[in-house]
């Protein structure tokens, strides 16, 4: 048991001694580093350490929460008293409670969440990575003369959770990432794009040369965009933009939205809601990924959940509270910082890849829009209405023809996922991941 687990266990014990019927304590500590360079010069270097504990107590059906960054016995005692005082004045919630003891647990296998190479990285090396990525962006194309900068970030941390039902667990995580945003300019047209790589292990990062080159190519191909007329058309989302659609889908299967009847998927369990080619999984047990963890943020063991199975809505994503509200079982998706009631968060939430490469989808669609950037999006989870500003490339004769911008794309998620084709190019750059997605018809507003 780590020192932090002992502190968390002590906090829970103090709460029970003070009259709580149940208590749960989270402690997080971490060290983050960030190096930002712009136009070949270091713009900022940041190193920060943080440590905080949070407690949630239940006195019968009344809850109270408090947190502190003072982990001394006095600090913990003050935090516990604060939470107990709040529990006296909050109103009854018949659904309040900890998860069932049978749901608590932690995965035993190594999820590869921590890489000690990240702790050992030299500051000079990290700065050099950012400088190199920017330099390669400049040298990739002469139209790249300006840059919004490049940065290298790293993080190592630990999360500890203890509750009064006998759960005690802790795990370490690490991550690092490199990004660059070059600005391309030609004939008065100025466009920016970016590329990034991030991973839990240092060896999984793409090289700075790769990051710089891809960012530059993306910025340059957006130069001198055309406007296109308002029309209905097929739209191909590259993985980076498809992710945001999947993020909207996550909001719609989030147990919190379901029990509030604030999702277009509420009450649709067991129904066909999407194309048969669409299978959506939440799997926090995949090794080495950003959404992986041995237990969720209320001590429930993590597991794989099939959310949409060949087009049929199979499961919502739930923490113990939303599960109780809905008369279902938690799926181990509790998520929170150190304090307060847990919300619902994704593990690794992704669309299963299919056979077709994005190139072959593009060829077959003949005409349409290839979306590479979404801005100012606005999705209504209640109705499924989707609209967003977009930029990308127009497809003609099955090939990328010219850049387009100043358009909005719109549709309804209910229809969009029924009429979708899925690519083979699934890759994980965060906890939500999607291969390329073709939506056969959406409305484009342009000239």
């Amino acid at each position: 048991m780590s020192d932090l687990e002992t502190i968390a266990a002590d906090a829970v014990k103090r709460a029970i001694a003070a009259g709580a019927t149940d208590a749960e304590c989270t402690i997080m500590e971490g060290e983050e580093f960030s190096a930002a360079v712009r136009m070949r010069e270091i713009e900022s270097l940041k190193e920060a350490g943080s440590r905080a504990a949070g407690i949630r107590v239940l006195v019968g059906k009344n809850g109270g929460s408090s947190y502190t960054s003072d982990l001394t016995p006095e600090g913990i005692a003050t935090m516990v008293h604060g939470a107990m005082d709040l529990a006296k004045i909050t109103s009854d919630d018949p659904f309040a409670g900890l998860p069932d003891e049978s749901d608590l647990g932690s995965r035993k296998e190594d999820l590869e969440l921590y890489d000690d190479a990240i702790e050992k990285m030299e500051t000079d090396w990290k700065i050099a990575q950012a400088k190199r990525a920017e330099e390669v962006a400049f040298s990739t194309d002469e139209r790249i003369q300006n840059s919004e900068g490049a940065s290298f970030d790293s993080y190592v941390g630990r999360r500890v959770f203890v509750n009064s039902r006998g759960f005690s667990g802790s795990y370490r995580t690490s991550s690092c990432g490199l990004s660059v945003s070059p600005v391309a300019k030609q004939n008065g047209s100025m466009e920016r794009d970016y590329w990034y790589t991030s991973a839990r292990a240092a060896s999984k990062l793409e090289s700075p040369d790769e990051v710089g080159r891809r960012a530059a190519e993306r910025a340059v191909r957006r130069l001198n965009p055309r406007k296109i007329p308002t029309q209905k058309a097929a739209i191909l989302f590259e993985p980076r933009t498809a992710r945001s659609l999947l993020g909207d889908l996550f909001d719609a299967v989030n147990g919190g939205a379901i029990y509030r009847h604030a999702s277009f998927l509420a009450g649709k369990l067991g129904e066909k809601i999407a194309s048969e080619s669409l299978t959506v999984i939440d799997d926090p047990t995949l090794p080495g990924l950003f959404g992986s963890s041995p237990f969720d943020d209320e001590g429930v063991i993590c597991r794989r959940t099939v959310v949409i199975d060949k087009g049929v809505l199979n499961s919502y994503l739930l923490n113990s509270y939303s599960a109780r509200k809905l008369g279902l079982k938690t799926t181990g998706n509790a998520s929170r910082g150190v304090t307060g009631n847990a919300g619902v968060g994704p593990g690794n939430f992704f669309i299963e890849a299919r056979e077709r490469s994005p190139e072959s989808i593009l060829k077959a669609m003949r005409t349409g829009l290839y979306v590479t950037e979404l801005i100012g999006g606005d999705t209504n989870t209640v109705t499924g209405d989707y609209s967003s500003g977009a930029a990308g490339l127009w497809i003609e004769n099955g090939e990328l023809a010219y850049p387009v911008s100043e358009i909005t794309i719109a549709g309804n998620m209910k229809q969009m996922f029924l009429d979708v084709e899925i690519g083979s190019d699934l890759e994980f750059r965060g906890s939500i991941a999607s291969p390329s997605l073709l939506i056969r018809e959406m409305t484009i507003s342009g000239q």
């Binding site: 600005v183 967003s388 100043e406 507003s445």
Partner: protein, 115 residues
């Protein structure tokens, strides 16, 4: 933006067909290209100089410097926004106030599902 000389009612009356945006929700600006998107949370159709019916889910997209060229009328009703905004960077922040009178822009792309 400084106030102009037009009565806001006159501005609405001058529009044959257009959109009156009362409140914006989310939005985003790409400061490199100047492109912007804003979604109107409260907007009305203008037909023959009158507000006729509310419009759901309209979003505006355009290019900042380009859109300014099409400003044809500016109202005399300048007022600062009632809320206090805060702009921040690198852990520092300053309170900011913004204000603009009623403005007529002759052309802009309005997005939605009805093509």
């Amino acid at each position: 933006m400084l106030a102009g000389e037009s009565d806001p009612e006159e501005i609405i009356k001058s529009v044959q067909k257009g959109l009156y945006c009362a409140t914006f929700g989310g939005g985003q600006v790409d400061i490199t290209s100047g492109n912007f998107v804003f979604s109107a949370t409260e907007s009305y159709l203008i037909e023959n100089g009158k507000l006729t019916r509310p419009v759901r889910g309209a979003s505006l997209i355009g290019n900042g410097p380009e859109a300014l060229k099409y400003v044809s009328m500016v109202g005399r009703d300048l007022q600062l926004d009632e809320g206090v905004g805060v702009c921040g960077k690198e852990g520092q922040s300053v309170p900011v106030g913004v204000g603009i009178p009623t403005v007529k822009i002759d052309r802009m792309t309005v997005g939605g599902t009805a093509a």
